[in-house]
Amino acid sequence: MNENSSLWSDAWRRLLANKAAVVSGALLLLLIALAILAPWIAPHSYSYQNLELGAQAPFGSFFLGTDTLGRDLFSRILYGARVSLLVGFVATGVALVIGVSWGIVAGYFGGRIDSLMMRIVDVLYGLPFIIFIILLMVIFGRNIWLLFGAIGAVEWLTMARIVRGQVLTIKNQEYVLAAQAMGVSNLQMFRKHIFPNILGPIAVYATLTIPQVMLLEAFLSFLGLGIQPPMSSWGTLIRYGVESMEEYSWLLIYPGLTFTITLFALNFFGDGLRDALDPKISSD
């Protein structure tokens, strides 16, 4: 346990030394806090329409302006953050649960089970998932929980491959073989030896999956196939922004900027985490 904690504290030190990752991490924490606190800190209601006001460039307490229905853009971006981040975390969670258990089972038991399970992953990899998600949204209605599930169900494949690879390596280490010889049960083995050792790669890949998932959600919402009104995500805000960008360009620019910066921060933080947890695999 001691050695374990020193691995994590080493990684933590390396992460803190990486300025881009620290700034990104701080930015993400701030964003998450803002999203959670949105109902208390939003300066205006996100849904209150003020048709007399209409679309106004930033002024006074509407410091990002208002949309064509007179709704405060800043408040709408805050509430959009709730939906977008929720999709990011929940769908990544779904992908994690499926991918990690699939990978552990395949890697740990090996043999025929492994080749069958990995063959299934190979086949699924070849499928055009974007099209399938659209298909599912069309057939089963545009339901937010279905969206989480569908996106998560797509993103678990890479996770399964990574975890399986890790488990295969760990399985053949001497201390695991020793534990096996001593008759440690499968469950104990997972908990004590395998799981702590694959936590790093899982954390890294999960961080890098979140932006992909958010991008996918925004893509669907942009096409009008994702989040439906009255709820709005950053994807739907960008969609409205595009519709009215000729006269009211701020409606496109501010949500777009927020979204891009968030993706940027998530990617930098994920890269930093990867470098910190495993200096060996850091990409050049």
């Binding site: 070849g126 099209i131 777009g256 940027f264 990617n267």
Partner: protein
């Protein structure tokens, strides 16, 4: 070698069959019939409609008929546009989408490879940092944001390029191609930089330099072939992404391609059109994955002997 290729093809066929069957049953599972959204029709008309579209047969018979027609390249009639067949719509939309994808890949390859190779050769200089930062931006900036921004800048503010259309106004193909290609240019830049860095460390490059070959020849004659393998293996999966991107780009720029037809079909619940295009896109993606796998095998002697 031939064996490996045949094995890949042998996997592709059942995958296609699974895709087609899965899509067929999913679409048939959809709540309500294809004509429900329209105004109420008398039961007799409904019955005739169902008969015309072969919806009154048992599900398995419908499945058998659909698959048999599919093998002959017949995707059936469109539910939404009477008198038009899905095959017809695919064949009008496909050339447009392919042209767009071709230009986008062209933009992506030229910009991406140049930037990546220069960044690798001039490692840790401004020529490395600036293109790679732009590449990161290119990866993080989604197509559906980049497109409208380009339209806003070049189409509306500067008024130098048309904001929509395909082939009707001079220069209207420029913005869509750049929009679709940008993210891939960024990926390709990163991949070719990584591949080149690895290759430039190999012994045979040192040998070439030791022989006194000028640096540009070392790079062009020796390093590129190995350094670009990651780029080629990326192209197969990239096609899948390009199709997704074409949904967005064709919608933004109002291009009458297959991607826009698909999104429209999804909105209109044109089930046969959705069914047909899904199967068609899937085969396209599986086909291009196969091609890029084979090209990678041909380019990399080590993978060839391992396989």
């Amino acid at each position: 070698m031939l064996q490996v290729i045949l094995k890949r093809i042998a996997i592709a066929v059942p995958v296609l069959l699974i895709v087609a069957s899965l899509t067929f049953f999913l679409v048939r599972m959809a709540p309500g019939g294809p004509f429900d959204a329209d105004k109420v029709v008398p039961p007799q008309v409904m019955k005739n409609l169902n008969a015309v579209y072969n919806l009154d047969a048992p599900l398995l018979v419908q499945y058998k008929d659909y698959m048999l027609n599919l093998v002959q390249g017949d995707f059936g009639p469109s539910f939404r546009y009477p008198g038009r067949s899905v095959t017809e719509m695919i064949s009008t939309g496909l050339p447009v989408t392919l042209e767009l994808a071709f230009y986008a890949i062209l933009v992506a390859m030229i910009v991406g490879i140049c930037a990546g190779v220069i960044a690798a050769v001039k490692r840790n200089t401004v020529f490395d940092y600036i293109p790679m930062s732009i590449a990161m931006l290119g990866i993080c900036m989604p197509t559906f944001l980049l497109g409208p921004l380009l339209v806003l800048i070049f189409g509306i503010q500067l008024e130098v390029l048309p904001v929509s259309g395909w082939g009707s106004l001079a220069g209207d193909k420029i913005l869509p191609s750049i929009t679709l290609g940008a993210a891939y240019a960024a990926y390709i830049a990163r991949l070719s930089r990584g591949g080149m860095l690895e290759t430039l460390n190999q012994d045979y490059i040192r040998t070439a330099r030791a022989k006194g070959l000028p640096e540009h020849k070392v790079i062009i004659r020796h390093a590129l072939q190995g350094g670009l393998v990651p780029v080629v293996s990326f192209l197969g999966p990239a096609i899948a992404g390009l199709i997704g991107g074409s949904f967005v780009v064709e919608t933004i720029f109002q291009i009458p391609g297959l991607g826009r037809f698909y999104v429209e079909a999804a909105f209109n619940r044109d089930y046969t059109m959705i069914l047909g295009t899904t199967i068609f896109f899937s085969s396209l993606i599986i086909f291009f994955n196969l091609i890029s796998d084979i090209v990678v095998l041909l380019m990399n002697p080590r993978a060839r002997s391992e396989a």
